[in-house]
């Protein structure tokens, strides 16, 4: 079964292939239940007949009770079984949807890159999420509905024939007519439906156009022109919709009409037969109710037919779109993945995509294992494409690429990922931690069963080494320093950090005092929040935590008693309005919210609050809303949140409040706060703030570097640097890595490939987004650590870093213009010389 599935690509599977695949047992069970149900449905009819003919006519109470009992049981049973069928049907449908979604997604990820260039992500999303659902539902029904209803129909029809063949034949004669006429009507309805879809699309693009060009419409006063276009389309759509519905209801009405025609036939013919004594009265009653019961299964079959039409249209439309084959096998068939040598041979290579333009034209060169090649040339010369062809990202259309004497186009993806590392120009970072991203390439190497995990996965030391090599180490250390450590888990670390704090103040306190605002009992701290300024301590009880403080009754009373509540609410209201005004339409990217007292998740509720504040007064707000405003005010940090200012008056009130708060808390809630002291670790502040015993004031990268350099020294002395880097590796990089800078993302992408230690490394302008220093660092890493060990093909834009490469190849218009050592090429005064001097 599994093998057969592997052979037929998911996009070519028929809709019906999903009906049994993976659901065999459930479907068989379903059919058995259906058979019982059908029997339970026919039984009451027979009972009905016997009640009239035997029990009532012969006036036998015991028979009446018996037949009625059986009737009741049958009704119960068929109701209960129907429920069971529905459940099974849902389970099968959902499983089919899930299987389709999974298989299609797995398939889509393997499709050639060229496919994605033409495809909108939204299209893939809606295909996977919405379109397949109706097909899945249909699969759920595919057996249950037709089998149930056809069997029911046959059972009732059989029963009718058993009662009276002539009458049965006459009353069933309408169905062939319906079966003949219905598809014709449906076809017309389908045609109208397609027209409807097309016109609706036209309408929406017209609306989009006029909204985008609204300034032009208003500027020219061209309302009537646009109105006319729009009105015409609307009218057309109205007509189409009316006709469409005309057919749809026509089908229903037509069906109903024929169904109600058949009792008429029964009365005429059955009545005649009964009068003549050829038919018992009980049989006529049974006949009538059996005939009536034909209606439901029939209607369900018609509905089934319609949903089949809809489902197959959406299913095949979707699948058609993805009906492409991956260019390479994922796993090698019938052999182990190759362990390739690092030599590279490119011969008469060309690449000509469907557009018909040769992007790579007859390129030939070779590299020995461990040799480094720089690929240069103007943008558009094909150097990236060449690298991508070698890396199996594009399938070359002519010539050969041999890696370790194996033709690349014949290798499986697994062979490639085991031996080759690729860093792209625009590396992508996935949501998760630094560590997860760092291990991304290595994890992909692990076999599916995880058997070789220990061999493939790097150690912590390996990871730290790579972080250092790529220059990410300080960044990760920084993330670690900004982390808040857990009181329970890290007691020892707290003590070590206090020692670091002491040394920091001794050695650098004076020098850095200008850039760090130290915690000081007597000063207002501009880089700390109002909460921190008021409490000047770390909470020890959950009811006083940052999450709960604004709701805390004691705290609220304290604010009122000290005349703080009104100024704080005023501040919070202003803060809310200003912040919402700035951030209202920005996406939930971390970067936009760094300088905001309102987080991206909270923005929507504060939007509502800001709108309320426009209409009503502060004191008219509900207590919930006032608390929200208080919450934002308590977070306000003048040095960070620049949208409002803190008045001198409030500043003094808070400073006064700080003293009072300490007195009161010490008296009534001892232990609720541990007040900041030089000798204590503060567990609700970051490691960095603890070392400072304060907060940094500067964003200037030069000064920050200076501060971190001084701290690193102290951390090494205390031997906790690795521990902090390890904490830093747990840092969550955000969706698509949006909490990292562009440079950090690129370094992370290089680090994750280096960690894999590939034999062949392709870097497609991998360092172009980095600053000079980082670029130089990676360059020297390549020269010292990788030369002679890994074969490297580096696509390079900047010409000042290629001198030390073993070979330089210059591309022009898809052709290899020249190749040789840097000195040779410069001497020959060819293309490279031109490029260099032209640049300079």
């Amino acid at each position: 079964m599994k093998k057969a599935e592997m052979q037929i690509p998911v996009a070519e599977k028929s809709l019906f292939s999903w009906v049994f695949s993976g659901n065999m047992k459930l479907q068989v069970l379903l059919i058995i239940i259906i058979l019982i149900t059908v029997f339970a449905r026919v039984l009451p009819l027979e009972m009905q007949k016997r009640i009239v003919n035997e029990a009532i006519r012969l006036k036998k109470i015991d028979l009446l009770l018996l037949y009625c009992g059986i009737y009741l049981v049958a009704v119960f049973a068929s109701g209960g079984l129907k429920y069971l069928i529905n459940i099974l049907q849902t389970v099968i449908g959902q499983r089919a949807t899930a299987a389709m979604r999974k298989e299609l997604y797995h398939h889509i990820l393997t499709l050639p890159l060229s496919f994605f260039r033409k495809t909108q992500p939204g299209m893939v999303v809606s295909s996977l999420v919405a379109e397949l659902a109706s097909a899945g539902d249909f699969v759920g029904m595919a057996i249950a509905v037709p089998v149930t209803n056809i069997l029911t129909l046959i059972a009732f029809a059989g029963y009718l024939f058993w009662l009276n063949p002539l009458l049965a034949a006459v009353s069933l004669s309408i169905y062939p007519i319906v079966l003949f006429l219905l598809p014709m009507l449906q076809k017309r309805a389908n045609t109208e439906n397609k027209k409807r879809v097309d016109t609706t699309r036209k309408l929406s693009s017209l609306i989009a156009e006029s909204i985008t060009g609204i300034h032009e419409i208003q500027g020219n006063g061209a309302y009537h022109i646009e109105n006319q276009k729009y009105d015409n389309l609307v009218n057309k759509l109205t007509k189409i919709r009316i006709i469409w519905n005309f057919y749809r209801f026509g089908i229903k009405g037509f069906n109903n009409f024929f169904n109600s025609l058949s009792p008429f036939l029964i009365f005429i013919l059955g009545g005649y037969l009964a009068i003549n004594g050829q038919l018992e009265l009980g049989a006529l009653v049974a006949f009538l109710s059996a005939q009536e019961k034909l209606y439901d299964p029939w209607k369900e079959l018609i509905d089934f037919y319609q949903s089949y039409q809809d489902a197959s249209i959406s299913y095949y439309r979707t699948m058609e779109y993805f009906d492409l084959l991956p260019e390479y096998e994922l796993e090698p068939s019938g052999r182990k993945p190759f362990d390739l040598a690092g030599s590279l041979e490119v011969q008469e290579l060309s690449f000509e995509p469907e557009s018909g333009i040769k992007l790579i034209d007859n390129v030939t060169f070779s590299l020995r294992p461990g040799e480094h090649l720089a690929l240069v040339g103007f943008s558009g010369s094909g150097k990236s494409t060449l690298a991508q062809c070698i890396g199996q990202l594009y399938k070359y259309t002519g010539g050969h690429v041999w890696i370790g004497e194996k033709e690349v186009s014949n290798l499986s993806k697994r062979d490639i990922i085991n031996n080759l590392g690729f860093v792209s120009q625009m590396p992508f970072i996935f949501s998760g931690t630094i560590k997860e991203n760092l291990l991304y390439a290595c994890s992909a190497k692990i076999k599916e069963d995880g058997s070789d995990k220990d061999d493939v996965m790097p150690t912590l030391d390996d990871m730290i080494e790579v972080l250092q090599q790529t220059g990410l180490f300080v960044d990760v250390l920084r993330f670690g320093l900004h982390a808040i450590i857990d009181r329970q888990k890290n007691k020892e670390m707290g003590n070590q950090l206090i020692r670091v704090r002491r040394k920091f103040h001794l050695k650098f306190g004076k020098e850095l005092s200008e850039y760090v605002e130290f915690f000081n009992e007597n000063n207002y701290m501009n880089y700390s929040s109002i909460t921190e300024n008021l409490t000047f301590g770390a909470f020890g009880q959950e009811s006083f935590s940052d999450k709960n403080l604004f709701k805390n009754e004691y705290f609220q009373n304290f604010l009122s008693e000290n005349e703080l509540i009104d100024p704080l609410l005023n501040l919070g209201a202003k803060l809310t309005q200003r912040t919402v005004d700035i951030l209202r339409n920005l996406p939930a990217e971390e970067m936009f919210f760094e300088q905001s007292p309102i987080s991206s998740e909270e923005l929507s509720e504060y939007k509502i609050l800001a709108d309320r504040l426009k209409k009503i007064d502060l004191h008219q707000l509900s207590s919930d809303e006032r608390e929200k405003i208080l919450k934002s005010a308590l977070r306000f940090t003048p040095g960070k949140h620049k949208m409002v200012a803190l008045s001198e008056n409030l500043r003094q009130l808070i400073l006064k409040g700080r003293k009072r708060f300490r007195e009161k808390i010490s008296m009534y809630f001892p232990g609720a706060f541990s007040f900041y002291q030089r000798s204590d670790y503060i567990y609700n502040q970051s490691i960095l703030n603890n070392i400072f015993f304060g907060k940094t004031k500067t964003n200037n990268p030069r000064i920050q570097d200076k501060i971190y350099q001084s701290i690193i020294q102290l951390l090494i002395e205390e031997d906790i640097m690795e521990a902090i880097v390890n904490i830093g590796m747990q840092y969550n990089v955000g969706s698509q890595g949006d909490k990292l800078s562009g440079g950090q993302r690129q370094k992370l992408a290089i680090a994750r490939v280096l960690l894999k230690k590939p034999k062949i490394l392709i870097m497609d302008e991998a360092t172009s987004g980095l600053d000079n220093k980082s670029q130089a660092r990676i360059q020297s890493l390549i020269e010292t650590r990788w030369k002679g060990k890994s074969t490297l093909i580096a696509v390079i834009h900047r010409l000042d870093i290629i001198k030390n490469y073993d070979k330089v190849a210059v591309m022009k218009a898809g052709k290899l213009a020249e190749i040789g050592t840097y000195d040779e090429l410069v001497e020959s005064k060819g293309m490279l010389y031109e490029l260099i001097t032209g640049k300079k």
């Binding site: 501009n526 700035i582 339409n585 920005l586 996406p587 620049k642 949208m643 409002v644 200012a645 000079n772």
Partner: protein, 175 residues
């Protein structure tokens, strides 16, 4: 950031609004609607520098633009240990707009000639903000192109044919 506390208070009363006013005056941003200016004014930072601090140095890729609020700084060309002062920038001047648009390792150094307070915007923030308003990017490019054109036009007016060897180097506006 090292402003004395008293001074800080005054400034903070209006920092965000001040930033908006500043951005409106700069050619680079002046074409942008208020909605965008607000976002950029919010994303800006203020920094202070001591005399002789470098704002950036040759080969740095700091990708920042500076507006000088108070003080003076000098653009230096570093050539084999010697520093040549190209020109001075003072209060109200803006520089570094091109660094917001793309990678631009510095060819010069910028050094504070007195205590200096600047408004700074960096490329990462700027470009992520502008991604939200893609329709405005062409507008911004127009401003830059006009500026480059005006620059070279001015150069040609002053240019005298005596500098034969410079001839090769002019013509940046026909790039």
């Amino acid at each position: 950031m090292s402003l004395s506390p008293e001074k800080n208070k005054e400034c903070q009363a209006c920092e965000f609004e001040e930033n908006i006013e500043i951005l409106r005056e700069i050619y680079f941003f002046s074409g942008l609607p208020m909605e965008v200016l607000k976002v950029l004014a919010y994303l800006c930072n203020r920094e202070t520098f001591k005399q002789n601090d470098y704002l950036f140095q040759k080969d740095d890729d700091d990708s920042q633009a500076f507006y000088i609020i108070t003080g003076k700084c000098g653009l230096l060309y570093t050539n084999r240990e010697s520093e040549l002062l190209i020109r001075e920038y003072g209060q109200g001047e803006f520089l570094g707009g091109l660094a917001l648009l793309g990678n631009l390792p510095r060819l010069y150094s910028l050094k504070a000639l007195s205590a200096l307070s600047c408004l700074i915007l960096d490329r990462d923030k700027f470009s992520r903000a502008m991604q939200q308003f893609p329709e405005l990017i062409p507008k911004m490019f127009k401003g830059v192109v006009r500026r480059i054109y005006a620059w070279e036009n001015r150069l040609l007016v002053d240019y005298s044919a005596c500098c034969e060897s410079c001839k090769e180097l002019i013509g940046v506006s026909v790039l």
